[in-house]
């Protein structure tokens, strides 16, 4: 007998059944539906089901409704209903494209009798389009008196005509029928069945009619089942109270799950349970878990209204297991929970990353927890969590040594996406190697906790190098034991100033194995040809879909061009008489991000015309940077030539150690021996820092350096010298910052003394020539090549400290010294004064720490090479994307000329040359000439003004301006292109006016030497009180007198205005107000603003000193005169997968809106957010590149256009989005929302600041 079942009443479609109680419907129609649907609703989901009550009129009014077999299709309405199910979490696994397809294909089988409100259910066949719920083998529903099934079937592809099921597929389907109906299909009736099905993606759908089922289970059994189930409709679904069962569990399994729940979670039935395969699997996992009791306790504690599902139980298992493992390993800190309430039911997809490829004993290794963000679909609530709540991560680290189980603990908590934790691994004496297990117990604000581990192998330095050498030289025989110590010639500077390790390395000798044959040119050629062919094949593949891969093809072609260029160069070598030789190499990198391991070296040698042997090394490893390296050496023999080529190759690498081994040659004849070298990659530049930090050297430098600058500062030298260690601290901090490992803890280390260290030397601060920024450079150690750089704002902030705090400390110190001369240490008055001094010193320490920590965090203060002054800063922190000549050109220092040799024109203060022909060396020399000229102008100006040379600085600017500091020091800006003599005349004139103005405002002295007691004196006294400035002492004016006279000078002696401004600035309730006001007015003057134009900002302060401090800080972040806005582009606009390419990024807009130095003050909004001060275009681009990657992760599931996506980049929360332009995508939106250093300046404040900085 053959019985036939079909793929359903509407072939190729899957039904939504609209049951109106007709004879074919499984569920009765609603008798009183109108009463159940609120009048203002078109539909409403029936709680706990996939069914809806739907207003018939709404359904049939679908503008694109069309008829279909057995009913009709209402794509618009169905889409709304499906969206509702997704929103309720019922179809949460379904992909948007599947839902869209389903909306267009689901057929409404209308068995209604024209009621105004009808019941619509999602049939089992719908899952053939949408896909089955994860972990579900089949979905079954009663439809039109029979059953409809969607069954999982691996390998089935969607579409096409109905497929005929094979025996296994029929068995799967009938098994599902048995589980669903709890009826048995006798095995004899399973044979000879022919079932045709509609194919889905990995599923098939069939419809078994009432007749089919009577054939299979018997008429009585089917009738009984139909009567029992008559009240149910829709595919099996379980949400809400009660126990629901998915149909793919056997009776035994079902019973087991029920009993377990009853025994362990007795209240679960009231809260709702979904028993399915996934839940059963979790139950079995719990039973096998060593933490069973704890898990059940966690589950019981978590019971509280939510339905029990496999997901919720799994979450409890994860939580309990995590805590149990955390306890077991001995972490004693309390469970951190604040701000760590996950929004996802899945564990954080994290892994431990070790930021060092190989580890030697004593290495401090940074570890981090990296998250592989899954492309999850997020609902609206979760989206809000992403947008408005920062990522918070808490990590408990445990470093467990494998052999001894000794443990070291550490913990960190951070906001944002990334932080590192360093651990120093140390082997025991005599140990050569050991393994540690690194545990990270991670709690996260958005995901569930996870315990991750990774093993780490630690070796002695010697063992590590030995292994690297062995790996790299496999097949090249053995090395003789005990390599020779060798003193390399690493250059004059290194030899003179470098450390021992920089020029003292090792030389190796060994013997090649018998029968060794070196890699031939043909083999090398073949290797390169193979690589090029692979790339060509890839390009061809991409060209198969050119419209998708245009940009990827371009990238691949560029890569191929590089390979071909290298290949051509090697071919030309051969044509020039170079013959290749076998050379291997390996790198032991000590810089994070650079891989250890074998290098791809290509060696060649030849006899030169002068008889020497020449050796050339080409390094194609591209281990760092994209360029191939090439070095050359020559000598009387091969070894000498190889050494000469080796040293520059070695020194080209970042921190680490380089080893090479080559087949030895006698003349051009290959030997059976090998020769090799090994040397530290460090250079004197790196070592100088170490030299400066050497305690003995440091003391010498400090004493020498400070002694030269202490005149005029008197006793301040004593506290300063006592704590002098600033250079090391700032440099360390900056390095930490660059590596991204700067933490608040680091900031608190050693900063207290830093401001004190700098104050004595502030008189030596030099402005940085050639920079458009108001940057200053302080040479703390002349021989070190290092300098402390600070922004103008930082300079003023430190001055501020000096004026407010240190002046008092000095005053107290002087009195103490004076008392010491009259009494002894046991005198109670002396002891009291000492206590006062200590307390004041503590205050200064706190204030200094606060100020310096802020400056360092804002990148307003850092250490760099002194020589970098003109170059690094002009490039914006070293991340330049445009050539130096262009930077100089923007500053007016460089003028392009198509012909002739480049030169420096002192008559105009400009470098002239053809950028296309200018070499770096030439430009260096011309920049030096320009610097020398500026120094010459300083000397001339000092002479003109009859000032000491140390008090005069000249810097490049876009105008001719003289400013006179409080101590009389002069800073003058020179505008390139102007005749120096004319500029000097202007400087003299401006200086004369300033000095005359100040002289006019100086407090008059009475003939008898007593101070005046007029209004000015009263004001001075008030200033003294407001700023806690030292009072006048005999023979010199008080600090408050000087401060007041300076304020009056700035305001053209308008004492009424100054009084008013001091009131608005909060002189009545704050310290340092006058100094801050002076800073603001000076700043305004430097930006061409009048004193009156500062009033709006002061009115916002409205007498609140703290608010005024904040506002001045904000205003002075716009320190740079606006330069032309650059337009660098991120490097990853092209998506390697071709999925989301961008044509460009509107970086000009980003800089003009969100970077202080480029802010467009004509475009002020209600909120104006800024990247941290000091952020350069290169830094923004680096962040943007990360943002683009984040955008791509979210692209497929969530965000199509600009406006909705917030992403975490580093410590900052950024918003990013794109729009279209000229048919391509453009990044139109990228700005910081929150994070360290990010400032949001309100519209009114920004408008007031704009008055000062101009537009």
């Amino acid at each position: 007998m053959q019985r036939q079942a079909s793929g359903g009443p509407a072939s190729g479609s899957a039904p939504i059944s609209a049951n109106g109680g007709g004879p074919a419907a499984a569920a009765p129609g609603p008798d009183e539906p109108d009463a159940q649907l609120p009048p203002d609703r078109d539909f409403e989901r029936i709680a706990g089901t996939t069914s809806f009550l739907v207003r018939r009129q709404w359904l049939i009014s679908d503008p694109v409704r069309r008829a279909a077999t057995g009913g009709f299709v209402t794509p618009t309405r169905t889409a709304v209903l499906l969206r509702e199910l997704v929103g309720a979490g019922i179809l949460s696994w379904a992909k948007p494209d599947r839902l869209a397809t389903a909306a267009d294909r689901l057929v409404l089988l209308d068995g209604s009798k024209g009621q105004a409100v009808i019941r619509v259910s999602l049939g089992a066949g719908a899952y053939n389009v949408i896909g089955l719920p994860p972990g579900t083998g089949a979905m079954v529903a009663r439809v039109q008196g029979g059953l409809e099934l969607t069954v999982a079937a691996e390998g089935v592809e969607e579409g096409g005509p109905p497929i005929q099921l094979d025996a296994a597929q029929i068995d799967d389907a009938l098994d599902a029928v048995e589980r669903f109906t709890q009826l048995t299909i006798p095995s004899a009736r399973r044979h000879d069945l022919v079932i045709k099905a509609s194919a889905g993606a990995g599923t098939f759908r069939i419809h078994l009619s009432r007749e089919n089922l009577i054939d299979l289970v018997g008429a009585g059994a089917w009738r009984g089942f139909s009567e029992r189930e008559s009240s149910k409709d829709g595919a099996r679904e379980a949400v809400g109270a009660g126990v629901a069962v998915n149909s793919d569990l056997t009776d035994l399994e079902l019973e087991r799950a029920r009993k377990w729940l009853q025994a362990n979670l007795p209240s679960s039935k009231h809260e709702g349970v979904r028993i399915d395969r996934a839940l059963l699997d979790v139950i079995l996992t719990i039973e096998r878990s060593p933490h069973r009791a704890r898990i059940i306790a966690e589950l019981a504690a978590g019971e509280g209204g939510a339905a029990v599902t496999a997901i919720s139980v799994e979450a409890a298992v994860r939580e309990a297991t995590y805590e149990a493992e955390r306890d077991a390993i001995g972490i004693e800190s309390p469970r951190p929970t604040a701000n760590l309430d996950p929004v996802h039911d899945v564990a954080l997809p994290a892994r431990i990353v070790q930021h060092a490829s190989k580890i030697a004993s004593g290495d401090s290794v940074p570890f981090s927890v990296e998250v592989d963000w899954p492309p999850v679909a997020i609902d609206r609530a979760q989206g809000d969590e992403y947008r408005y709540r920062q990522f918070v991560t808490n990590v408990d680290w445990v470093f467990e040594k494998g052999t001894t189980h000794d443990k070291a603990y550490g913990s960190q908590r951070y906001t944002g996406g990334h932080a590192t934790h360093n651990h120093v691994f140390r082997l025991a004496a005599g140990e050569e190697q050991a393994t540690w297990i690194v545990h990270a117990f991670v709690r996260h604000s958005h995901f569930q906790p996870v315990h991750e581990t990774r093993s780490v192998v630690v070796q002695t330095e010697a063992a590590l190098m030995r292994d690297l050498r062995e790996d790299a030289t496999a097949g090249m025989g053995s090395l003789y034991q005990d390599p020779d110590k060798k003193n390399f010639d690493t250059g004059v500077l290194n030899n003179k100033a470098g450390s021992e390790k920089q020029d003292k390395g090792l030389s190796f000798h060994g013997r090649l194995p018998i029968g060794f044959s070196h890699t031939t040119d043909a083999q090398r050629d073949q290797r390169r040809a193979e690589e090029m062919n692979q790339v060509r094949a890839m390009i061809e593949h991409l060209r198969g879909r050119p419209q998708m891969n245009t940009d990827a093809i371009e990238a691949a072609e560029r890569y191929l061009a590089n390979l071909e260029r290298a290949d051509g160069a090697i071919e030309r070598d051969a044509g020039s008489g170079w013959q290749s030789f076998e050379v291997r190499g390996t790198l032991r990198a000590k810089q994070a991000g650079v891989e250890d391991g074998a290098l791809q070296l290509h060696g060649s040698l030849r006899r030169r015309d002068d008889g020497f042997i020449g050796v050339q090394l080409r390094d194609l490893s591209r281990r760092f940077g994209a360029e191939d390296l090439r070095t050359e050496g020559y000598g009387s023999d091969f070894a000498e030539a190889l050494e000469e080529a080796f040293v520059p190759l070695c020194k080209a690498y970042p921190a680490g150690r380089l080893f090479i081994l080559a087949q030895d040659y006698q003349g051009l004849r290959a030997m059976q021996t090998t020769i090799g070298f090994e040397l530290d990659t460090g250079t004197v530049g790196e070592d100088i820092k170490a030299k400066v930090w050497d305690p003995a050297v440091k003391i010498a430098i400090n004493l020498a350096g400070l002694a030269a600058t202490l005149a005029g500062f008197g006793a301040i030298a004593l506290p300063a010298l006592a704590v002098y260690n600033g250079l090391e601290t700032v440099d360390q901090l900056h390095e930490e910052y660059v590596r991204g490992t700067l933490s608040t803890t680091d900031l608190s280390l050693g900063l207290a003394s830093l401001a004190l260290d700098m104050m004595p030397a502030l008189g030596r601060v030099k402005s940085v020539a050639g920079s458009t920024r108001a940057m200053f450079m302080l040479s703390l150690a002349d021989t070190a090549g290092e300098a402390l750089y600070m922004t103008a704002a930082a300079h003023l902030a430190i001055r501020d400290l000096e004026d407010m705090h240190v002046a008092q400390l000095v005053d107290q110190w002087e009195r103490m010294v004076e008392m010491q001369s009259r009494t002894d240490a046991a005198d109670p008055a002396m002891r009291a004064m000492q206590a006062q001094f200590d307390a004041k010193a503590e205050d200064v320490k706190k204030a200094s720490t606060h100020v310096i920590a802020g400056l360092v965090a804002q990148r307003a203060l850092f250490v760099a090479a002194k020589r970098a002054g003109e170059v690094v800063l002009a490039r914006g922190g070293g991340g330049a994307t445009q050539p130096r000549w262009k930077e100089l050109s923007d500053d007016g220092v460089f003028v392009a000329r198509p012909d002739g040799a480049p030169y420096y024109d002192p008559s105009k203060g400009q470098i002239v040359g053809n950028p296309a022909k200018l070499t770096d060396g030439q430009l260096d020399e011309l920049v030096t000439q320009q610097g020398t000229h500026m120094r010459l102008l300083s000397t001339q100006l000092a002479d003109d003004l009859r000032l000491p040379l140390t008090d005069v600085e000249v810097m490049v600017g876009d105008d001719v301006v003289v400013s006179v500091g409080k101590s009389g020091g002069v800073t003058a800006t020179y505008k390139p292109g102007m005749a120096p003599d004319a500029v000097r005349a202007q400087w003299r004139e401006q200086h004369g006016q300033i000095v005359a103005g100040r002289a006019g405002a100086a407090p008059p002295q009475r003939e008898n030497g007593e101070d005046s007691t007029g209004p000015t004196e009263a004001r001075s006294a008030r200033l003294g009180a407001a700023d806690s400035l030292p009072a006048a002492t005999a023979g010199r004016p008080s600090a408050s007198d000087v401060a007041h006279s300076r304020l009056l000078a700035l305001a053209n002696n308008d004492s009424v205005l100054i009084d008013d401004f001091l009131r608005l600035a909060g002189e009545a309730n704050g310290d340092g107000v006058a100094t801050r006001l002076e800073n603001l007015l000076t700043f305004a003057a430097s930006r061409g603003a009048s004193v009156a134009e500062c009033r709006d900002l002061l009115q916002i302060a409205a007498g609140d000193a703290e608010r005024f401090r904040e506002l001045v800080g904000q205003a002075m972040r716009f320190g740079a005169h606006r330069a032309s806005v650059p337009n660098p582009q991120p490097a990853n606009l092209i998506d390697p997968t071709g999925a989301l390419n961008f044509a460009s990024a509107n970086t000009v807009h980003v800089f003009q809106r969100h970077v202080y130095d480029y802010f467009d003050a004509t475009d002020i909004k209600a909120a104006n957010t800024f990247f941290p001060p000091g952020t350069t275009p290169a830094m923004v681009i680096a962040d943007l590149e990360v943002g683009i990657e984040r955008l791509r992760i979210h692209y497929s599931t969530t965000i199509p256009m600009q406006g909705s996506l917030g992403v975490q980049i580093g410590d900052r929360w950024m918003q990013i989005g794109w729009r279209t332009q000229a048919g391509k995508k453009l990044i139109g939106q990228f700005f910081p929302g929150s994070g360290p250093g990010v400032e949001n300046i309100s519209g009114p404040v920004m408008t007031a600041i704009a008055k000062i900085i101009g537009s």
Binding site: W58, A67, G111, H1149, D1163, S1204, R1219, Q1229
Partner: protein, 145 residues
Amino acid sequence: MDIEISIAETHGLDGVVTLAAEGQPDVVITDEPWHQLMHLCSAVAEFEHGMSAGIPYSSMPGGYQLSVDGDEVVLTGDYVPTVRYPRAELATAIIAATDVWLAHAAALPSVERDGVRESVAEAADAARAAVRPRPEPTEKTSDVP
């Protein structure tokens, strides 16, 4: 209540959108008008189905919410006052303002405007579809079994 939405472009695509209605404070949104109109049109489709909608700013953090309260829509958020508008009038005003912008974009095309015009037009179409009066039942419906 008459609601008037005016648009000004001051910096390329950037500018100001102002919602004015009698008896309500003006809502002044300094942001890219095309971006605001695109999102406002999407919001129409949402609040016509009784759902609230959030609209982010394009060039500064934050945004505002349009929540349905009966026949009214309540606008609340960052840097804007809280106001209430009749739902239907607000939808009409948004679509009208968007049409004005689209006409402006057609009359004064630029690379930037051309790029985003399609997105704004799509959103406007969706808004129009959402507010289109639903067809009354006709005899034709009797063909449904």
